[in-house]
Amino acid sequence: MPITDQERIELQRRANAVRKDIVDVTGWSGGAHIGGSLSMVDMLTTLYWKYMKVDPANPLWEDRDRFVLSKGHGGVGHAVVLAHKGYFPKEELKDFNHTGSNLGMHLDSHKAKGVDASTGSMGHGLCQAVGMAIGARVLDKPFHVYCVVGDGESNEGSIWEAAMSAAHYKLSNLTAFLDRNRMMIDGPTETVMRLEPLADKWTAFGWKVRVVDGHDYGQLVDAIDFALTYKEGPVMVLCNTIKGKGVDFMENDPAWHYGGLNTDMVAKAQKSLEKFDV
């Protein structure tokens, strides 16, 4: 369903609150993958608050939609989303990365409620998502599988193995999102290992591709609506995003792939995000 003005405002509010908490957790935890977490927040917010059929009170509900964060280092962003969604108290975020806590850099599906697959090593999540989508078909389950893939992660051969198999098995119950923030640890993706023409690659691998501004809820919603009605195979929503989105001194700077924040930096980042309050 196309997005309403009210929904857009609510998603914006939620996304900005999530981003502010990501900044706080980065401060508390001593360091986190903040850049790539901030870039994917709008996709996750749209999925969790508009589309995904989940029950935070019953996180293992068999028929729930599945979400796999293939770019598992975005764990801090995912954890904040899950806390906002009510899977666990926000208080738990204060112990992120701490010994003995349920939440760490790469989320563990046995510990963090709402996490459907343990990820972290690159190029694993999409493979697991393919298996889940095939599983839904074998078990005749109605659930949909959503998966967020990183662009740096797309250097991995297993991503393309998974892409091939999803198209081969015409997995229309699988929708992937590519967080195309164009930055990886060592620099711009096109400098480190060229990915373009990326949309053409996914098309050539048999996916239906929708290229959107990954921070525009209207475009995200249109693409997801398309994906949910397209029955011929998997859909890739290629989201052009900004690494570090919302925090002015982090945007498009690969140095903020992973970093720590002292009190002053947290305050500065929060001030930057306040500009997006609605």
């Binding site: 193995e161 998974a162 081969h168 098995y169």
Partner: protein, 338 residues
Amino acid sequence: MTPEGGLSWTVYDANKLAPREIYGIVLADLGSIHPNIVGLSADLAKSTKIETFGNKFPDRFFNFGIAESNMFGAAAGMAKVGLIPFVSTFSAFASMRACEFLRTDICYQNLNCKVIATHGGTSFGSAGTTHHAIEDLSIVRAFANLTVIVPADGIETANAVRACMDIDGPVYIRIGRGFEPPIFTTEDYGFQIGKAVEMCPGTDITVIACGCTVFHAVNAAKILKDEDGLSVRVLNMHTIKPIDEEAILKAVHDTRRIITVEDHNVIGGLGTAVADVIAASGKGCAFNKLGVQDAFSPHGYPEDLLNLNKIDMDGIVEKVRELMGREFEADEDWEDEV
């Protein structure tokens, strides 16, 4: 024995079929009982015989092409939503090409996936080092949550495939290419995961073997009895992990001499697992490991490679004689040792 659900082991002829053929047939039968079983192949359905399952249940069989990493990752996803995937490929690829996917996706998440790794050890002789798996046990033994089984022949393969269904977690079953001679004539010998099978009783020395070397160890024991008058205990240590510590400690106590035999590098496999138990016990024991002596194995006929690596009957006989000739002071008072 007719297990629940009407599965009958008489569906195969163990004297005429290779373990992987028997595995295919048994899995196809298990598929009738367990609708959640799915079969996965990476373009080796014919070679690993999982095609027998695939032909019977085409809607529950998935070929991933020559892409083992994705296949193991997808298996994890399938298990996550409630299926029981049987993943088949050659041991070399299961343990090395797909290594991290087996470790991180399947074992770390403790998922109910069964890996049937065929062409283990040097059994694919003529294919050479690229297709030999003499490191796989060492690699996968280090994965927490994983049960590791190396059946001795086709009948034991059938038993292992059935028994692995009782484990709600990952299991790695390593079988050969299919020229292993049958040892068991009946499946009803008390197979139990984690419990060694005593193939021959003995008091002078214990030979602990797994996989295809069990056959050779049994034959070696007969020769040693006839020609040397030796009483050789042969243990079929089909489960490498968790290893049967009790059987090993009993062998140390009763025979004070142990030789391990495996179609695998002597580093990290059965021999190492047994050595760990002996060392931790603090008891004295003359010990030796037979296997591939930390070298890449050349191509050749499998029986020639077993001979080359001294893990066939001749090699075992030779090593037993050597170890029996070694000066070894066995203290009668077990309790004195630390």
